[in-house]
């Protein structure tokens, strides 16, 4: 049996017919072709598939697509506006908050949720908020810095980037 659902993803509305067992992350990746949201595990531990559903961070492997019927969804592709990077995207870039980049979209989406609730989190608060996301490359050190960088930028404070912008057209 298939169900017709309507979801708005990154501002674009889609009507799609789905099997009831289809996961939200499968809808996003395989049906809508938005491959920035990743799948890193099958037990909802890794957080690579984190997206926003109606403004809240959700691991999109923990929801069926049919449960997202009528929802507003934002993925990492919907974070930048007119090529202007979101402060978190800028922060991860400036502070070398990523290496292989696979966990990055999920961590950025989880961090965006954190900063909405807590605009000036301490290191400890950031580390606790990232409990649901694995990164195997960075040891989290620069991820913490990237999030603090973004938080400062979003509070309108001046920030000194760690990384030197080499190529033109950056950020």
């Amino acid at each position: 049996m298939r169900h017709t659902i309507q979801v708005t993803v990154n501002g674009q509305t889609h009507r799609v017919e789905v099997e009831p067992r289809l996961l939200l992350v499968e809808l996003i990746r395989d049906v809508l072709g938005l491959t920035g949201t990743h799948v890193g595990c099958d037990t909802s531990q890794c957080g690579a598939c984190t997206v926003h559903v109606n403004g809240e961070a959700v691991k999109s492997c923990t929801m069926f697509a049919v449960q997202a019927d009528g929802c507003e969804i934002t993925t990492v592709e919907g974070l930048a506006t007119d090529e202007q990077l979101h402060p978190l995207q800028e922060g991860f870039w400036q502070e070398h908050g990523l290496q292989c980049g696979f966990c990055t979209p999920g961590i950025i989406m989880a961090a965006a949720d954190l900063l909405k609730r807590n605009p000036d989190p301490s290191e400890e608060e950031i580390r606790r908020a990232l409990e649901g996301n694995f990164c195997r490359c960075t040891g989290y050190h620069n991820i913490v810095r990237a999030i603090r960088y973004a938080a400062a930028r979003m509070r309108g404070e001046a920030v000194v980037p760690r990384g030197e912008a080499a190529p033109t057209g950056a950020s």
Binding site: E19, R21, R29, D30, G33, L34, T35, G36, T37, H38, V39, G40, C41, D42, T43, Q45, C46, V76, E77, L79, L85, Q89, E90, F92, W93, Q94, H96, L98, Q99, C100, G101, F102, C103, T104, P105, I108, E123, I126, R127, R128, L130, E131, F134, C135, R136, C137, T138, G139, Y140, H141, N142, V144, G163, E164, A165, A166, P167, T168, G169, A170
Partner: protein, 790 residues
């Protein structure tokens, strides 16, 4: 205008824009027209004979296109996956087929593949494949596997013994230990680890019948080696008819070096079906099908004279190789381990014996550090424990034994000749950064208040930049270990760099571009680094063993020298002077002592529009280089950690972590620090959290998901304090040594030393890793800690 000095600058990574915006392109992101999806039916048994496989029901399932078994592949002439490293003439090398033919030998061994129009159909139909197994007794522990009467994994390997390997002078070492003033002895288990790159492995076979060409997309660190093994050994099809593409790869840590069965299955079945076939692991499948790491059982004894000088080291190790020999597996617990046992110390006599053993477990191969963390663990645990036993400060005992800066090149008794180093310098810097003596005071005060603080040191050395090909050949590597590069200057002066290494998080697109932009005096954005496609790149050897900058970067440097030499000829012609009258500065050839100059861009254009051109010189500006290193490189460092142990619960909290590393000349300090951070996190993971556990009777992997296997999370770790010392490598043009594995090699021993330091006064000499609260709690109470679970 001065050209920018890119070497040494913390340039923000050029590859990151695509990653932060969700536009990375990993293998599973690729969708090809007409693509089919594969699901592999895996053995639920650790050891069983396959009596029959019935596939009819699965074939009839809607959407299913084909079901293949190991016998189908064998009948079609598909060969065994070879290992790339031979240890001695008598090494047992039983066949390893992509899908098991007669027996399954570990939980997760593939027995059939279902290929269907959708992922869901393939997965559903896989449930309908009926395999009739005759269960056999299994053995998962390497020491058990060596015992008389143990279940036999392969008929070709009696007693489950793959090889016995030894290095060093047995008699001299025995004599030195017999007459030593003090001997410290420990029995270790360096536990099995599961690498867990966050991107699960994925492969797409894409056969084009029109061109008779096979393209394999694969999440690999090593595309050329995969092409060579797949074409020449397994599928037996011409190498030039196979193209391997490794697009963005989401971490590897060694686990994506190897040639895996799924690559063969997708490539072969795509040829059979004439359509693309994709397989992507789900995580619980990664747990049983990605090569595991470590898994040593070791007895080691280190002898000292009256003054605390090391007189000898004897090591006996049983290494679990798993059920089959993975690509680099035989070499990891032998040459990459035994040769590092001198550490940073003047150890006159060393003897090591290693038994490589087959068991009914997932194959074990190189995981970040590969042999060197195991060696460092042996040496640094023994030195540290010896200091406690002899009542000496652990830093002081190390100092008494360091190889001194004026003693290089230093020949160890285990083959390697260290080229350079300043070990005491790195230790002093780490002690200073941590304020060591003040920490010792604080530790004393804390103890008076009933708090258990421990301080751990780890002074490590690694052999990286694998490796001089002649040496590789002498130690049984069935390959050369040079690296390739090509520099293609385009008519507009933009530059494409092709490297045989592969980046899966290390930032080569930035670091290598920095070298090129720096040397040519051009803007970084004019340089593009291309890797991971065998159709574009000269034959290269991939990325592992912290080799990419030292070997791949050096190859780029050599190719640049050739480009500059040709550019100089063109410049001399255009400026009508002799070549030696020119100097190359800031992206220009300048006639010495004048302001007459020609820019690199103008030379590039001239090379491709050679109207006014030197007689006899070929047009174009494109050069290749293959760089074969003269020696290994020897990064080293000193790490220090501070822990607090909860006396009530045994929980260990890592309070501080200080790392001083000497990785040679640094091209991008921000990237190097990131490599150290990540390496340390994995080493801490082994010390405190991670461990693969097999049930001894059933052979089931009990830690088979991220629910059961504890990877470090953000709140398990502190921020790290990272310092550098820079002793350039004397034998490669960049002076670079490699930074990818340093943190992992140092950190495990560093943290365990700190915990034992916190508890030594309670009678604790050692605790088996991972140092879970239960184990620590038991150790504090004198109870055994080598139990299974916990």
């Amino acid at each position: 205008m001065e050209a920018r000095a890119y070497i040494g600058a913390p340039i923000r990574r050029v590859e990151d824009r695509r990653f932060v915006t969700g536009r990375g392109r990993y293998t599973d992101d690729i969708v090809l027209p007409g693509m089919l999806y594969a699901w592999i039916v895996r053995s639920p048994h650790a050891h069983a004979r396959i009596r029959a496989i019935r596939t009819e029901k699965a074939r009839q399932h809607p959407g299913v296109v084909a079901v293949f078994t190991g016998k189908d592949m064998l009948d079609d002439g598909v060969g065994s996956l070879p290992t790339g490293w031979q240890i001695g003439p008598d090494m047992k090398e039983p066949p390893h087929y992509a899908l098991a033919v007669d027996k399954v030998r570990y939980v997760g061994d593939g027995v059939a593949v279902v290929i269907a129009e959708t992922k869901a159909a393939a997965r559903d139909a896989a449930e309908l494949v009926e395999v009739d197994y005759e269960e056999l007794p299994a053995v998962v522990d390497a020491a058990e596997a060596l015992k008389e009467g143990a279940p036999l994994v392969h008929d070709e390997a009696p007693g489950n013994l793959c090889y016995v390997w030894e290095l060093g002078d047995r008699e001299a070492t025995d004599r030195a230990l017999a007459t030593a003033h003090h001997v410290t002895k420990l029995e270790f288990v360096n536990q099995r680890l599961i690498p867990n790159a966050i991107e699960p492995r994925s492969a797409i076979g894409h056969y084009d019948p029109g061109r008779d060409e096979l393209t394999l997309y694969t999440s690999s660190q090593n595309p050329h080696l995969i092409r060579l093994l797949l074409s020449a050994f397994v599928l037996k099809i011409p190498e030039h008819k196979v193209r391997v593409i490794s697009p963005d790869v989401g971490g590897g840590f060694g686990s994506k070096i190897f040639h895996y069965p799924e690559e063969v299955i997708c490539a072969w079945s795509s040829r059979k079906l004439g359509r693309p076939v994709k397989w992507t692991a789900v995580r619980s499948e990664s747990f049983v099908s990605d090569a595991h790491g470590r898994d040593h059982i070791t007895t080691a004894e280190m002898g000292f004279d009256r003054d605390g000088r090391i007189v000898g080291l004897r090591v006996r190790t049983i290494a679990n190789l798993g059920a089959y020999l993975s690509t680099f597996a035989p070499g990891v617990p032998t040459w990459l381990y035994g040769t590092l046992l001198a550490g940073q110390y003047k150890t006159p006599h060393i003897h090591v014996e290693v038994k490589g053993v087959f068991t009914n477990t997932t194959p074990v191969d190189a995981y970040r550090g590969a042999g060197r963390p195991e060696a460092t663990y042996v040496v640094e645990r023994l030195v540290d424990l010896a200091a406690h036993e002899m009542g000496l400060d652990p830093a002081e005992l190390r100092r008494r034994n360091f190889i001194q800066p004026d003693e290089f090149p230093y020949q160890t008794p285990v083959v390697l000749q260290y080229d350079s180093g300043n070990y005491e310098g790195a230790l002093n810097k780490a002690l200073e950064m941590a304020d060591y003596w003040k920490l010792r005071e604080e530790q004393k005060r804390a103890r008076e208040q009933g708090r258990l603080i421990g301080i751990g040191l780890s002074c490590y050395i690694e052999a990286c930049g694998l490796a001089p090909s002649k040496v590789a050949g002498a130690i049984g590597v069935r390959a050369g270990l040079y690296e390739s590069a090509a520099i293609r200057v385009l008519p507009t002066g933009k530059v494409q760099v092709f490297t045989g290494t592969h980046s899966h998080g290390q930032g080569h697109e930035t670091t290598f571009a920095q070298i090129v932009a720096h040397e040519l005096g051009i803007p970084l954005e004019d340089v593009e680094v291309i890797h991971g496609d065998t159709a574009e790149i000269p034959f290269g050897m991939g990325t592992y063993g912290s080799r990419s900058l030292a070997t791949g970067g050096s190859a780029i440097y050599r190719a640049l020298e050739k480009v500059k030499a040709k550019a100089r000829k063109i410049a001399a012609h255009k400026l009508e002077v002799a070549e030696e009258d020119l100097e190359f500065r800031n992206g220009q050839f300048i006639v010495k002592g004048t302001d007459r100059a020609i820019s690199f861009g103008d030379i590039a254009l001239t090379a491709y529009v050679p109207h006014d051109y030197p007689e006899g010189l070929e047009p174009g500006l494109e050069e290749n280089a293959f760089y074969d290193p003269a020696n290994f490189t020897f990064p080293f460092g000193a790490h220090l950690s501070v822990v607090e142990v909860d006396p009530e619960t045994g929980r260990v909290k890592l309070l501080r972590y200080v790392a001083v590393d000497d990785v040679g000349r640094i091209i991008n300090p921000m990237i190097v620090e990131g490599q150290i951070h990540g390496g340390v996190a994995q080493g801490v993971g082994q010390a405190l959290l991670e461990g693969a556990i097999y049930d001894r009777s059933s052979g089931q992997l009990l830690t088979g998901s991220l629910l059961d296997y504890a990877l470090p999370r953000a709140d398990d770790l502190p921020s790290f304090e990272v310092g550098h010392q820079e002793t350039p490598c004397p034998h490669n043009p960049l002076g670079a040594k490699g930074a990818g594995e340093a943190g992992t090699i140092a950190a495990t021993a560093c943290v365990v030393n700190a915990v034992v330091d916190a508890l030594y006064h309670l009678g604790v000499r050692d605790i088996r890793m991972p140092l879970t609260p239960e184990r620590v709690w038991r150790a504090m109470r004198g109870l055994p800690t080598d139990g299974h679970a916990s």
